[in-house]
């Protein structure tokens, strides 16, 4: 990671985080600025989450690709835990769930670590789905059968399958990264996460400034069409400015990637909001106090990661083997 681009990217993010933290602390100390104290509090909590995210990511990368895959595997496991905890299951699902947690999820990440794209791209969506269907059927409880199996499958696809495309970025053979082995891939992953988080923020900012029309008032009370458009545009702009960080992208390609990532992140947030609304909860868990659950933090990444992965493949001209 000793090349100038990686250092520039990391230094830039650290500077931004430090500045934002300073602003956040200033606003916290001066509650008379006419700003909503709850919003300031949310902002500070988010910042804390980002610091944690940044630190963990840097540590994992420093330890190598396998460690990063393992880290994302643990995050997936935890997110799936939160997902299934919130979805009502019946006793007949128990054995299927056991295999989902202790066999399919770990095995999938082993395949990702081994860079077996040909297998891991179908392992969960096809084989795990077939297994869950059959296992629940064999358990003998047919009540709301399709509904129950669909819940488990949705959890697997969103929390495990989709998220695993983020660490899979580290395995992509990108032309021109031979000089600094792996650094380009790491920047790619960092680029994705940065864009997703930035899009989340911009969505909030634009919604607050210009937001008029809610996308779906029953699902989310702060996601507006204006926010979505504003966030997609600003993320495209940021991506174009940072194009040098993501190896195979030209500026205009990076802009498109940023635009798409913002929209996918939005889709992820909406999806998770819908599930949470249905279950009548606000957040998924309590791992980091005040920061919702793991799933609340990664929902946008889950949705954006596979699309970003395949766009990178397409642009770099890497076909499936």
């Amino acid at each position: 990671m000793n090349d100038i681009r990686t250092i520039a990217l990391i230094a830039g993010v650290l500077a931004l985080l430090t500045a934002a933290t300073a602003v956040g602390q200033f606003l916290k100390r001066h509650p008379d600025r006419g700003l909503d104290p709850a919003a300031v509090n949310t902002f500070n909590l988010r910042l804390r989450g980002w610091w944690i995210m940044c630190t963990v990511l840097a540590a994992a990368f420093w330890l190598g690709t396998t460690a990063t895959v393992l880290l994302f595997g643990l995050v997936s496991f935890w997110a799936l835990r939160e997902f299934i905890t919130l979805t009502p299951t019946r006793k007949g699902d128990h054995r299927a769930l056991f295999w989902v947690f202790f066999a399919f999820t770990p095995l999938h990440y082993v395949l990702v670590a081994l860079n077996r794209y040909d297998i891991f791209s179908v392992f969960l969506p096809v084989y795990a789905t077939l297994f869950v269907l059959a296992r629940v059927a064999v358990a003998g409880d047919y009540k709301r059968f399709l509904e129950r199996t669909a819940k488990i499958q949705a959890g697997l696809v969103v929390c495990v399958y989709c998220l695993s495309f983020a660490p899979a970025l580290l395995q992509l053979p990108i032309a021109g990264s031979a000089a600094a082995e792996g650094a380009g891939n790491f920047r790619l992953l960092f680029f994705l996460i940065l864009l997703v988080q930035f899009a989340d923020c911009m969505q909030y900012v634009w919604s607050r400034m210009l937001g008029r029309r809610l996308v779906a008032s029953a699902v989310s009370s702060n996601r507006t069409w204006e926010g979505l458009l504003g966030s997609a545009m600003s993320t495209a702009l940021l991506a174009a400015v940072l194009w040098w960080a993501a190896p195979p992208f030209e500026p205009w390609q990076a802009a498109i990637a940023g635009f798409v990532v913002a929209i996918m992140g939005f889709a992820g947030g909406m999806t998770m909001s819908a599930i949470k609304r249905d279950r009548g909860v606000k957040d998924y868990g309590t791992l980091v106090v005040g920061h919702g659950g793991v799933l609340d933090r990664i929902d946008s990444i889950c949705f954006a990661a596979p699309v970003f992965y395949h766009m990178t493949q397409l642009i770099a001209g890497i076909g499936p083997r």
Binding site: F77, R81, E82, I84, T85, T89, K91, H94, R95, L97, F98, F101, G285, T286
Partner: protein
């Protein structure tokens, strides 16, 4: 298997699955058992380490978030009473207590289950320091309540499940009378309601492999037997205090 305080012979409405799995023909028909182990001179380092490891494992596996609602952890003598949903209940409550309190808190468990096999017996006697109650042979004059009170002396606390057996529906059932007699005989002990949420999905009845979902353990404010309070009123009040923690 954890059992309720006083399943007297009369009130014992045997829950068939539970009982069938627990009555082992190999068990000799014992008198009211003497409790072995008991940690009178403190647990050995090995048992302490095993206790710490198990507590950590239980917390990771059951992913419990622990809430103290209008209540504080304390080393005073207490009876923690909880709804019963899973085999893991006692271990998870035990491990969600701070270590200093864990060391003086003894789960009440069924002898027929926990004294079978070397590992289980070692865990129950040496690590959890459980009070094992023989529920196949309960004497009128030697009730489990007396045994428990004798065992805890004036320093230890208890974990009990007054419902008697693990509920199937998820509803919290009627409490058996043991809790009342405990409160009556030792009015100085704090009775702390505990609500266990979601643990029945981690390890449901009849399953032996856990699914690592997230559970929630809530401790409520202590209550005592009021002067002149009738048995049924008290038991209902205790039951409501557990339900109130559900939110």
């Amino acid at each position: 298997m954890i059992l309720d305080l006083a399943r007297s012979r009369l009130t014992r409405a045997a829950d068939s699955t539970d009982t069938a799995s627990m009555l082992s023909p190999a068990d000799p028909p014992p008198k009211v058992m003497a409790v072995a182990g008991g940690g009178h001179d403190g647990p050995s380092p090995l048992c302490r380490a095993a206790g710490l490891a198990l507590a950590a494992l239980a917390r990771v596996l059951a992913g419990s978030s622990i809430r103290w609602i209008a209540s504080q952890p304390d080393t005073c003598q207490r009876v923690y009473f909880a709804n019963h949903t899973s085999h893991l209940d006692a271990i998870v409550i035990w491990s969600s207590l701070p270590q200093a309190i864990r060391e003086i808190t003894r789960p009440v468990a069924a002898k027929d289950y926990w004294s079978r096999g070397i590992v289980r017996r070692w865990l129950a006697e040496q690590v959890f320091d459980a009070i094992l109650i023989d529920r196949t042979d309960i004497k009128v004059h030697q009730s489990p309540v007396d045994l428990m009170l004798r065992e805890i002396g004036s320093t230890k606390s208890l974990i009990v499940f007054p419902e008697g057996s693990r509920s199937v529906s998820g509803e919290i059932g009627e409490f058996k009378s043991g809790l009342y007699y405990l409160a009556k005989k030792r009015p100085d002990i704090e009775l702390v309601p505990v609500h266990i949420d979601n643990l029945n999905r981690v390890l449901p009845r009849g399953e032996f492999l856990p699914v690592p979902l997230l559970s929630c353990i809530s401790f409520g404010p202590p209550l005592w037997l009021e002067r002149g309070e009738a048995k049924l009123d008290f038991l209902e009040r205790a039951r409501r205090s557990v339900i109130a923690l559900k939110e």
